[in-house]
């Protein structure tokens, strides 16, 4: 295993005012902790790829900064305490972009080790010292090729003015194939991994190579030793339900979302929950809704209470809302090409491939539109995930 590959550290403030596009509204104060900062990957009509950060100013959304990326990213990971974001390339991309959340300054660009590519997700340790990524050991075409990359973070935010360096120090097995989203459990020592189960190889574009035999799993490992702690699967008849995205609430309950690779008419679970030591609890929408979800959930998030879920279904142009306490589907909302979702106020902010960003209030059951300047939203396709700092 190679250690650190093509990474280089940059002074924390070096890119301020250079690569950063400041907001259209100069009155906005960067670093104002009261303002939420939303981050998402995006692409544009010219097939350029971006990291975009924006904030809300009453009924307006205002661009804070924008960085062009050398390949399409999938999700942005935040560390609010350390004021760091990491943008992770989507499969089969190999780059991470590290920066400061508040200022938008770029700190580092990192490449995956040889023989590895990312799956678009990462997570920080609670002590801010480590960053973990889901990866593919793509030369292994037979075994459990999923890997968890371990990156040490040096000179964190506590040392203002220093350098941030992500250094590859280790890797673990993910105990599966095609690991996708991973999160840190509330005990701060356990990583929970959605092993999607689908084998791919970067030379074969995005072809899925093992649909008939795929075995996705929800897997818990010790973040320090990499030891397997628990692994759960859906019933065997749903082995083609690729567990892709997960969220976690304060009670340590995991919400799972799936993408079903089997027959399009099968009533397969696309949303589920899991509590350590128990079986996965599947949740199904009424038949008329479930059959329209197109066997695909793109993103899943708890609301701020940790009781309600949103599961985005971009192929069905809708968001679905669920109550994990009762295990029931609540309602659906039309939202063309919407995929990115994050908990915000009494509901969720959601972003779409159409360039739209809207807020859905769970209590009022109302949708709020925002005004956005043309240079911010026009011709922009918001990618899979949206996060808020």
């Amino acid at each position: 295993m190679s250690s650190l590959i093509s990474s280089y550290g940059l002074p924390r403030r070096s890119f301020l005012g250079l690569a950063v596009l400041l907001a259209a509204n100069p009155a906005f104060t960067l670093g104002d902790a009261r303002q939420p900062i939303f981050l998402s990957a995006a692409s544009d009509r010219d097939d350029k790829h971006w990291l975009k950060a924006f904030t809300r100013n009453n009924d307006q959304l205002e661009l804070l900064y924008s960085h062009q990326l050398n390949e399409r990213a999938h999700a942005v990971t935040l560390n609010n305490k350390a004021d760091i974001f990491v943008t992770v390339a989507r499969r089969p991309g190999t780059s991470l972009l590290v920066g400061e959340v508040q200022s938008g300054g770029i700190l580092q660009e990192v490449q995956a080790p040889g023989g590895r590519h990312f799956y678009g997700h990462g997570v920080f340790s609670a002590d801010d010292n480590y960053f973990y990524t889901t990866e593919n050991d793509y030369e292994d075409m037979q075994g459990d090729s999923g890997r968890i990359g371990v990156w040490r973070i040096s000179n964190t935010a506590a040392e203002a003015g220093g350098e941030i360096v992500l250094e590859r120090v280790n890797e673990f097995a993910s105990y599966g194939v095609g690991p996708h989203e991973l999160l840190l459990m509330p005990d701060e020592e356990t990583l929970v991994i959605a092993n999607g189960g689908i084998r791919t190889h970067p030379d074969l574009e995005r072809d899925k190579l093992n649909i008939e035999s795929m075995q996705p799993s929800l897997t818990y490992i010790d973040r320090q030793s990499g030891t397997l702690l628990e692994q759960k699967r859906l019933p065997a008849e749903f082995h083609q339900a690729s567990i892709r995205h997960i969220d976690i609430n304060a009670q340590g309950q995991i919400a799972l979302s799936m993408q079903f690779e089997g027959e399009p008419f099968v009533r397969a679970p696309l949303v589920a929950s899991h509590q350590r030591g128990e079986a996965i609890q599947s949740m199904l929408a009424p038949e008329q809704v479930q059959s329209q979800m197109a066997q695909y959930v793109g993103s899943i998030r708890y609301d701020q209470s940790g009781r309600f879920l949103v599961a985005s279904c971009p192929r069905a142009n809708m968001l679905t809302f669920w109550d994990v306490e009762t295990g029931e589907f609540i309602r659906q909302l039309r939202a063309r090409d919407a995929c990115g979702v994050c908990a915000y106020e009494d509901g969720f902010l959601y972003s779409a491939g159409t360039g739209q960003i809207r807020y859905y209030d769970l209590i009022q059951r109302s949708v709020t539109d925002f005004t956005m300047s043309d240079d911010f939203s026009r011709g922009l396709f918001w990618d899979n995930h949206l996060v808020v700092a």
Partner: protein, 361 residues
């Protein structure tokens, strides 16, 4: 040039007033139609003229199919089988005229897959149908049970498999179960067609009229995009699923059995029905596109139609002749040109068919 004239007259009647409203200052990358009421007017025309009549026709001809099945079973003969097969062709043609509409009521209760599950790469239909026939189980044919059976035994491909075998006549003479099953499938097709048709008339038309109030759509443009996406995806389906696999690697390697409706030898007839519907649908939305893009798309449709008209209904026949094989190749290339022309037309506006929905992870 008849087709071209039809498109240009649509531009004259629909696009010019809208351009006039904006002073003709629109640049590429903007929508030519900006008002909800303009989108709704087109959506409503499409619904009333190109959607509801098509489903109502399906309802009618599938009833004829059921009657023909019952007649055949009452008098199993070459003549009654020929009548039944003709009725099947009519039902399949009616479905092919509606096949591109993959949103709205057709997606309820898996009605789309229950009418036609194709392509069936895993052989689901053959496996399930053979098992059902071997079981001779009449309880699963009950009206409240059959809709819950595998989609592979419920729709047009299942009936085609039963009706277009070289031994169909003798098989039916030797098995009363085949009659019960065929009648059940034909009744199921008619019930689904009736359900879809009624839902459009009684529910979905109201949604078309007021898409936001219904909660089903974000706006009239959102709904129009469903129609345009149906158009673009159907063209891709013709190119990628209905033509390319059958062409194989070469004339010698052509694979008729990879084509849709190969048993009934109507693979190319299906594409004729598809294109007729798709061209009408596009012509309804020409006001949404720049004139030169409309001309490109119209020309691509015209070329496809011209190639198709000289080909037989049967892919088997077409692929057996080297010259006609080349024509099917040309058809595939023209479908690609049509797809690209429509993609360009869409790109030149602000209409997006999908980003996450087409290439998510």
């Amino acid at each position: 040039m008849m087709v071209m004239n039809k498109y240009l007259s649509n531009i004259a009647t629909l696009a010019l007033p809208i351009l006039a409203l904006t002073g003709g200052q629109l640049a590429y990358g903007q929508n030519l139609i900006t008002r909800d009421e303009d989108w709704t007017a087109i959506n409503l025309t499409v619904t009333d003229e190109l959607v509801i009549p098509v489903y109502q026709n399906m309802q009618l001809v599938s009833l004829d199919l059921l009657t023909a099945t019952e007649n055949f079973c009452a008098d199993i003969s070459v003549d009654s089988l020929n009548s039944l097969r003709a009725a099947f062709h009519q039902s399949m043609a009616a479905w092919q005229s509606a096949q591109h509409i993959q949103f709205g009521p057709i997606t309820y209760f898996n009605w789309n897959f229950r009418l036609q599950y194709w392509p069936d790469d895993r052989g689901t239909s053959a496996r399930q149908l053979n098992a059902l026939i071997a079981s001779q189980d009449e309880t699963v044919l009950a009206s409240d049970v059959f809709p819950r059976q595998s989609v592979g035994v419920q729709g047009l491909p299942a009936l085609e498999r039963i009706l277009f075998d070289e031994n169909t006549l003798s098989d039916f003479q030797n098995s009363s179960y085949l009659c019960l099953l065929s009648e059940t499938i034909a009744r199921n097709i008619n019930e689904i067609s009736t359900g879809v048709s009624q839902r459009w008339v009684e529910e979905y038309r109201a949604i078309i009229l007021d898409p936001v109030e219904s909660g089903f759509y974000e706006g009239a443009e959102d709904l129009s995009i469903d129609f345009l996406k149906a158009l673009q995806e159907a063209i891709a389906k013709i190119r990628d699923l209905k033509l390319l696999p059958a062409l194989g690697e070469s004339f010698a390697g052509a694979r008729n059995r990879a084509a849709e409706s190969w048993r009934s030898e109507h693979s190319l007839a299906n594409i004729k029905s598809n294109l007729n519907s798709l061209e009408l649908l596009f012509s309804a939305y020409t006001a949404a596109f720049y004139e030169e893009d409309v001309v490109s798309v119209a020309s691509a449709f015209e070329n496809l139609t011209a190639t198709l008209v000289v080909l037989p209904d049967s892919m088997l026949l077409a692929l057996a002749d080297e010259e006609q094989y080349a024509q099917v190749q040309a058809l595939h290339a023209q479908a690609e040109i049509l797809h690209e022309a429509l993609e360009t037309a869409l790109k030149n506006t602000d209409l997006y068919l999908g980003f996450n929905s087409l290439d998510g992870d």
